[in-house]
């Protein structure tokens, strides 16, 4: 069971499924008291950032 859970969490981290949760945790630590981005705004922002540089190869 613990093993399955680790696999699931690894899969989420690898795919970026948990990116928003990690951002929320970071935001709460680094900028307490300010409002974080919404899930959608964060997603759009992240995609724009990710695909603005070289992130795929031959």
């Amino acid at each position: 069971m613990r093993w399955l859970r680790a696999l699931w969490e690894g899969l989420r981290a690898l795919s970026g499924d948990d990116a928003y949760e990690r951002y929320l945790a970071h935001h709460a630590r680094a900028h307490p008291g300010t409002a974080p981005l919404s899930r959608r705004a964060f997603y759009l922002d992240e995609e724009r950032r990710k695909w603005s540089g070289i992130n795929r190869c031959c």
Partner: protein
């Protein structure tokens, strides 16, 4: 003690397997030999060489805070578990390159490609990726171009930037050509590839509006739809009414791909690029894992000989002797300069501890190299006659099936028209003759591996699934590459006229995207009208460009090592650099100066011009001949420019090295000052 014993055991098994491969002649060899040799060599390289480099040459410091920790912003700079970074990095570096190059190089036999993939990666490619990753991690995740500028000087930076842009254009063109050749005259393939576009958009809408950012569930839905798309392609192929809609010539498809590339580069990323990026990553990891399992399960015999007569330079798939052209044709999978851009891009910002660079940098490249070995297996388990019938252009073997099989059988690789027709029917295709570019023959190989492992009878499905799989990440590379090329061009043109540099100003976006698309579109178009298949000209050019980028990256790495007082270890990157410099320069020299019209660009141009002038060409060929002549001359000049850039960067690095040795001032090191890490070593380290 146990570790040492394990190491010795690996070395013995590895040596035995490599020896077995090298000595096995004139009888079929089992694919397991290749797999065993590969795994042992990677394990030895990782266990000993990479460990020695990280300890002695880099002096990695587990207590030193990485940029991910110091600059943590919860987004791109995030300390991440090393296996997750490994997965991200591998997904980013492994594209279609390690599948196509080894397939083409199989014309020399299975041995040359295999040896170069194994030793090139362990001593060259893995070292390059790991070194650049380490250097960038020490420099706040700066890019290769920035590091070149900071450490060598403005010229190195400019060369890295210019080199990247040029290689990107050649890369996109050759990959687009591979897709077009796989789709031409095949409604099934065309439909299933075309279907990936609306599926991508659907997933994009899902991820933006319906369930923002739920990547996993969206990817699973998307994968299901992609498989459905492949099945639907089969129905389309059967339907007399729909068939015609998806039955296109190469030139028509090239037109679609060009328009598509431009549109994809100007629409927002969330709509198509990002969602399809997720799908292609999942497909890629899944298919590679399946392929590895299937190869071990069925452990096929390789039918291609160890060496063919084409090592002498008369090869039909591409021209040139085994040296230097096997080293040019296989870039990705052995040494790929493009990886240096990823290793100095997103990856160093995720590294949680400096000790992780061995797994992420060296390990990911070893895995990519393993993918290349699987491509060698998939290509060489085909009957050699079938391999050459698929991969040779009509201009070389003759336009009719009868002429093609006669020529190929004459080389000593028997194949019949019946055999090819039977194979084409099994794969759900009209014909498999002259489907150059590597993707179709790889798909045939993969389909036969998959169908004998996971149930026969689905050959046609597997074949088109394999084609769709390759096409999905080729299309992703086309979109992403065009977009990156546009950013670089805008950055450059912004110096001339400021508004052109604004990445959000739509007229500039439209204009610069069109310029980039026109660049690769031109090479794609020429490749499509070339009766020899186009790939035989474009792929060597791509190989030279990619190795050139590797030479630039290794120069930067060597220069930094020397500057930081590691002169006695500079051979670690200097050795691969010297080898690549020799290989690319020899290849470039032959491509430019050779009098053989198949090999030399100028010789090819003048032979064609001669034929045109004497009226020896049929009207259809005469119409396109002037374009082909111009293109060969252009390719020759491009090769000259590539080579000059490489040598200027090497000279620049040597200048810095000499100044360093004499104690003269050089650019100060751009390494970020040491800060002590406050993170617990994640995952135990090693």
């Amino acid at each position: 003690m146990l570790g040492r014993f394990l190491g010795i055991a690996l070395a013995v098994i590895g040596a035995f397997a490599v020896g077995g491969i090298a000595l096995h002649r004139h009888e079929p060899i089992n694919a397991l030999w290749l797999i065993t040799a590969a795994v042992c060599i990677y394990a030895i390289g990782y266990r000993f060489y990479a460990a020695w480099i990280t300890a002695r040459v880099f002096s990695v410091d587990a207590s030193r805070a990485t940029p991910a920790e110091r600059l943590n912003n919860g987004r791109d700079f995030v300390p991440t578990h090393r296996w997750i970074v490994f997965g991200h990095h591998f997904a980013a570096i492994a594209g279609p390159g390690p599948l196509v190059g080894p397939t083409l190089a199989a014309q020399f036999g299975y041995l040359p490609g295999t040896l170069w993939i194994l030793f090139g990666s362990v001593l060259g490619g893995c070292v390059q990726d790991m070194t650049i990753l380490f250097l960038s991690t020490r420099r706040d995740g700066r890019s290769l171009g920035q590091m070149a500028r900071d450490e060598l000087g403005p010229f190195g930076g400019f060369a890295a930037l210019g080199g990247t842009l040029m290689i990107m254009i050649i890369l996109i063109a050759v990959l687009a050509l591979v897709v077009v050749n796989a789709m031409k005259g095949s409604p099934w393939a065309t439909f299933s590839v075309a279907a990936t576009i609306p599926i991508g958009i659907l997933i994009g809408v899902y991820l933006r509006y319906l369930r923002p950012g739920r990547v996993l569930e969206a990817s699973i839905i998307g994968m299901g739809l992609l498989v459905l798309g492949v099945a639907a392609g089969g129905w389309v192929d059967q339907s007399a009414a729909l068939r015609g809609l998806f039955n296109w010539s190469g030139a028509g498809l090239a037109g679609f791909v060009i328009v598509y590339g431009w549109l994809a580069a100007i629409i927002p990323v969330w709509l198509l690029l990002a969602p399809r990026g997720y799908l292609s990553t999942f497909l890629k990891l899944g298919v590679i894992a399946l392929l590895a399992i299937a190869i071990v399960v069925i452990h096929p015999e390789l039918k291609m000989p160890a060496l063919t007569q084409f090592t002498n330079g008369d090869g039909p798939v591409f021209a040139g002797k085994i040296f230097p052209f096997v080293f040019i044709t296989i870039a990705c999978g052995a040494v790929s300069g493009f990886h240096a851009l990823i290793s100095s891009g997103t990856t160093p910002k995720m590294i949680g501890s400096e000790t992780d660079v061995r797994l992420v940098g060296y390990g990911s490249m070893a895995l990519e190299s393993f993918v290349a070995i699987m491509a060698v297996i998939a290509a060489t388990l085909l009957d050699p006659g079938v391999f050459f019938a698929i991969n040779t252009g009509a201009g070389v073997v003759g336009a009719t099936p009868q002429a093609a099989v006669a020529t190929i059988s004459g080389w000593g690789f028997p194949v019949t028209v019946d055999q090819m027709q039977h194979l084409a029917r099994e794969m759900g295709e009209h014909t498999l003759f002259a489907r150059t570019g590597g993707a179709p023959s790889l798909a045939v190989g993969m389909a036969s591996i998959f169908s004998s492992t996971f149930g026969r009878g689905l050959l046609a499905m597997w074949y088109h699934f394999a084609l769709m799989f390759e096409a999905v990440f080729i299309l992703t590379t086309i979109d992403a590459g065009t977009r990156v090329g546009r950013f670089m061009l805008q950055d450059f043109l912004g110096h001339a006229w400021e508004p052109l540099g604004r990445t959000s100003w739509y007229p500039s976006v439209l204009f610069t995207s069109a310029l980039i698309v026109a660049g690769w579109g031109y090479f794609l178009y020429i490749g499509v009208i070339d009766p020899n298949g186009g790939v035989n000209i474009l792929w060597p050019l791509f190989g030279i460009a990619n190795q050139m980028l590797a030479a630039i990256a290794l120069s930067v790495a060597t220069g930094i090592l020397i500057k930081s007082g590691k002169l006695k270890y500079s051979w670690v990157t200097g050795g691969p650099l010297a080898w690549l410099a020799i290989v690319t320069t020899t290849a470039a020299w032959q491509k430019v100066m050779s009098h053989d019209p198949h090999l030399g660009f100028f010789a090819g141009a003048s032979q064609l011009a001669h034929k045109l002038a004497s009226g020896a060409l049929p009207p259809a060929s005469a119409a396109v001949a002037p374009k082909l002549i111009f293109n060969q001359q252009l390719d020759a000049w491009l090769t000259v420019i590539f080579t000059l850039i490489v040598w200027l960067v090497i000279a620049d690095m040597l200048r810095v090295a000499v100044r360093c040795a004499r104690g003269l001032p050089t650019h100060a090191s751009s390494e970020a000052p040491r800060e002590v890490s406050r993170l617990q070593p994640a995952g135990g380290g090693s």
